[in-house]
């Protein structure tokens, strides 16, 4: 891909989020370009999920600016941001347990208020949606479980369904919050493959993870956070051997140990 032609998809400028006296995010800056896969790492409490929540509108930014695809979305409501093309998953699985796997995805597919009457009556559109939803499921190897209850899925499958659901809205940018959490090695390997396939379907991916192997394999760039701030950014290799990053995670001195 020609670097100079890459479009800046998401621009976060001087973002800050406070809860009372707690500074969850302090003066954070990040640019995500079209085609990027950015990994975000950091110890627990670093503010990674808070960042994700603020970008997607779950938290209201205290200050700073977020621009998505040339539109400023800093104080937009959640659904507007989603409709502009952001899909996300959650740290703890939040599936619609009483619905089937397929329904979880179907419901994500459309803005019903765009044209409810037409949707209500239009059979062809419904079938098309069905197809596209099944596509999302197949991408994550869940097609055969389409009619199962979402509650009956194994942990690994449930996490994948979350991703499938986030994909259903055809997002430009996909934000994944610890998708591999709780997965064993095999499942994680599978997830890495799935994400590589997904990369072709979305413009960019931002990935919060603790699994360094996954980060290293997938990321173009890695951002390390601690105490709500970015402590460094660069290639996986560089970041993971950066002394500050290591001390944040391991509390080690420079030169001892290596995360990568």
């Amino acid at each position: 891909m020609n670097d100079s032609k890459k479009q800046k998809l998401l621009a976060i400028e001087n973002l800050a989020k406070n809860f009372g006296g707690i500074h969850a995010i302090k003066s954070f800056n990040l640019d995500v370009f079209s085609g990027d896969l950015i990994g975000i790492i950091g110890p627990n409490g670093a503010g990674k999920t808070a960042l994700l929540n603020t970008i997607t509108g779950f938290y209201r930014a205290s200050s700073g600016k977020i621009t998505f695809n040339e539109t400023e979305i800093t104080h937009h409501p959640i659904h507007k941001i989603a409709l502009l093309g952001m899909g996300r998953t959650f740290q703890n699985i939040r599936l619609f347990k009483r619905m089937s796997v397929l329904e979880n995805v179907m419901v994500a597919r459309k803005n019903y208020f765009e044209n409810p009457i037409q949707y209500f009556f239009n059979r062809a559109q419904h079938l098309e949606q069905l197809d596209q939803s099944m596509d999302c499921l197949s991408m994550l190897k869940l097609a055969d479980k389409a009619n199962q209850s979402a509650a009956s899925l194994s942990y690994g499958d449930a996490r994948r369904l979350e991703i499938a659901r986030a994909l259903a809205g055809v997002p430009k940018i996909l934000l994944l919050d610890e998708p591999a959490a709780g997965m064993n090695e095999t499942e994680t390997k599978q997830l890495i493959e799935d994400i590589q396939i997904i990369r072709s379907k979305v413009d960019s991916i931002v990935l919060i993870e603790h699994d360094m192997n996954l980060i290293r394999t997938l990321s173009d760039r890695v951002v390390a956070m601690d105490f709500g701030q970015k402590i460094c950014e660069g290639s996986a290799q560089d970041v993971l051997s950066h002394p500050e990053v290591m001390s944040a995670y391991l509390g080690v001195d420079e030169g001892e140990g290596n995360l990568s």
């Binding site: 989603a82 959650f90 397929l102 329904e103 179907m106 419901v107 019903y112 949707y119 209500f120």
Partner: protein, 276 residues
């Protein structure tokens, strides 16, 4: 006599449905008394003072109720749980007091002269709304409501406008209640504001609780039981509130997980999206 009972049963079915519709997006509304009253008086004013004929008056009354619902609803639907209950109860009281204070529509003394509704008109209404609800339950808006009810934030993250959904169900619920009110008024011929008070709102919600909230038939069941059974069992009629209360208690004790855990059957039964 039987016609009377059936009439009231149908009105109660409509009212129960109006609560049900709002409940679909996760809000428990005690304002149906208010919307019923607004619908009744609106239609009454149109037919009595402006010589409208019944059918358009009833429709306009429904529309009027929904407009009020939309106006009041915008800040209201964002509230949750107890706050929503309070505000909707408050709405019922306020509407009643407002109606009592307007001489134009009779004030406390009541408003009369409304005619034209009979059993067939209300049966038609029940039928129409029944069909619409059934249709709706098989469609996609139903699923949207389910997601809003189950997890608002996630629904929003999927692009669903939660506030709009809640407003929509609130307005539709008001519409149905308004129509019920209009038909009620034109059957009874004479109504007073105190007919539409807090107790009515509470009863209507309890019909839905009694009958079950899993689907559109539960409210029908609850309404039918509480309206028709007392007519045929004297003792039930005399002790109606107590029996009602005790039945509710029993039902709730048997299902202690609470009614807000209800979900529409999506899998086993017919189904969600008609899969091919």
């Amino acid at each position: 006599m039987i016609a009377d009972h059936l009439f009231f049963a149908c009105i109660n079915i409509l009212l129960a449905w109006s609560v049900y519709v709002v409940l679909l997006s996760g809000n428990l509304s005690f304002a149906q008394g208010a919307f019923m009253a607004l619908g009744c008086y609106c239609a009454g004013v149109l037919t009595v003072k402006f010589n409208f004929s019944l059918f358009p008056a009833v429709l306009l009354a429904g529309g009027f109720s929904s407009l009020v619902a939309l106006a009041v609803g915008y800040p209201t639907v964002k509230l949750k749980g107890i706050y929503l209950i309070l505000v909707t109860l408050g709405l019922t009281v306020c509407v009643r007091v407002l109606l009592e204070n307007f001489k134009f529509i009779g004030g406390v003394g009541g408003f009369g002269g409304m005619t034209g509704a009979d059993l067939s008109s209300v049966l038609i209404a029940v039928f129409i709304f029944g069909v619409l609800l059934y249709w709706f339950s098989r469609g996609s808006l139903q699923r949207v409501c389910d997601t809003v009810r189950e997890d608002e934030l996630v629904a929003a993250s999927l692009g669903i406008d939660v506030v709009a959904t809640k407003l929509l169900t609130f307005a539709v619920g008001a519409f149905i209640a308004g129509i019920a009110g209009a038909l009620y008024g034109h059957y009874m011929n004479f109504v007073r504001p105190e007919n539409f008070d807090v107790l009515l709102s509470i009863y209507v919600v309890l019909y839905v609780v009694l009958g079950g909230v899993n689907n559109m038939w539960g409210p029908v069941l609850g309404a039918l039981i509480m309206t028709l059974l007392p007519e045929y069992f004297r003792i039930l009629a005399e002790w109606r509130p107590s029996i009602f209360g005790l039945s509710i208690l029993l039902i709730l004790l048997v299902r202690p997980n609470g009614i807000l855990r209800f979900r529409l059957p999506t899998l086993k039964d017919k189904g969600s999206f008609p899969h091919e």
